[in-house]
């Protein structure tokens, strides 16, 4: 009997314990915070670029006035000045980022009258990640201007390829 009374009293006490409740009125809605966390690794760009170039040996043939023809009073077999040879620079991009290759020429001291022309001001080469294959571009080098008389197999300048 005592046990029964104790159980009834305990139940009554529990029922009367204060509880915090939030009323939700008509037309209102309950809110709860939704939390999210982002994790990720930044992919680092590793540049891997191959550059190859052909021999940059150019020959300048000066203009030839020709032979004087005493009968016609004119020069025969005249030839204008010209250059022999062209060069090629090939750039291959194995990187996971696009690159831009910009060629430039600097004449060595004493050879400022000779210059090098390029068939492109800058070569844009796509990332190897685009097609999962290395991408290649080519720059053609063409000489212009003239060389001083007596020049033989001299280093007349340097070509710089800037890889951006």
């Amino acid at each position: 009997m005592k046990k029964l009374i104790s159980a009834i009293l305990t139940l009554a006490m529990v029922m009367t314990m204060p509880l915090t409740v939030f009323a939700v009125g008509q037309g209102e809605s309950a809110t709860a915070e939704v939390k999210g966390t982002y994790t990720g690794k930044e992919t680092k760009v590793v540049y891997s670029v191959d550059i190859s170039w052909t021999a940059m040996d150019f020959t300048y043939n000066d203009a030839y006035e020709g032979e004087w023809d005493t009968a016609t009073h004119t020069y025969k077999n005249a030839t204008p000045a010209n250059w022999e040879g062209t060069g090629t620079i090939t750039i291959t991009n194995h990187s996971n980022a696009a690159i831009k290759a910009t060629p430039a020429y600097a004449a060595a001291a004493g050879y400022a009258d000779a210059s090098m022309g390029f068939d492109t001001a800058a070569l844009n080469i796509a990332s190897a990640a685009t097609n999962n294959a290395a991408e290649t571009g080519t720059i053609t080098v063409t000489p212009a201007g003239k060389l001083p008389a007596g020049t033989t197999a001299a280093v007349i300048g340097t070509i710089t390829v800037t890889i951006e």
Partner: protein, 178 residues
């Protein structure tokens, strides 16, 4: 005044002048030895005899060569555009490799505002560097911060040491820490 007294007076006047001249000579010698600006670093026309002391062999590099056009050259470059410089140990930390498939030796320069602050020794194909010492007095020209600079990569024939006609410039970002 006797001749003897005249001579004595002249000698007494000469002593401070000699001392000043000696002091000036010492100052000039100290300046020349320790403070004189040695001028810009010049690019070698022949590959340096000394190989880069910080060069390490690239792990797993087979050394299989690229095709090289007759009379021309071929190189391969692996690099990161980010370079850190620690002024406390006067060292640049970087990623730069001359893979074994290259047919040319390389010399790497780091240039900031037209000043060469680092110049490596010869870097043979199949080798890489992750740190390079700053040139003498370069650390004094730098302060903490971020700089835009360049790698200047120079190529040299592995047998003759002759500098190639083609070279490469690579824009980089340099972070200097004290």
């Amino acid at each position: 005044m006797s001749n003897y007294e005249n001579e004595d007076s002249r000698q007494k006047k000469a002593i401070p002048i000699l001392l000043i001249i000696t002091a000036l000579a010492v100052c000039v010698a100290v300046w020349a030895l320790f403070f004189r600006d040695s001028g810009p670093v010049l690019t070698p026309d022949q590959a340096p005899v000394q190989e880069e002391v910080n060069a390490e062999a690239i792990e797993g590099d087979t050394g299989e060569k690229m095709e090289s056009p007759q009379g021309g050259g071929s190189v391969s470059l692996t690099f990161s555009r980010d370079v850190d410089i620690d002024l406390s140990d006067e060292t640049a930390y970087l990623i730069f490799a001359n893979p074994g498939k290259s047919n040319q030796d390389m010399v790497l320069q780091i240039v900031v505002q037209d000043t060469v602050i680092v110049q490596s020794g010869t870097l043979k194909p199949g080798n890489q560097v992750t740190e390079l010492k700053l040139l003498d007095k370069a650390a004094k020209r730098l302060s903490e911060g971020v700089y835009e600079g360049n790698f200047n990569v120079l190529y040299y024939h592995p047998e003759t040491g002759e500098k190639a006609i083609v070279n490469t410039v690579i824009p980089i970002t340099i972070t200097v820490n004290e």
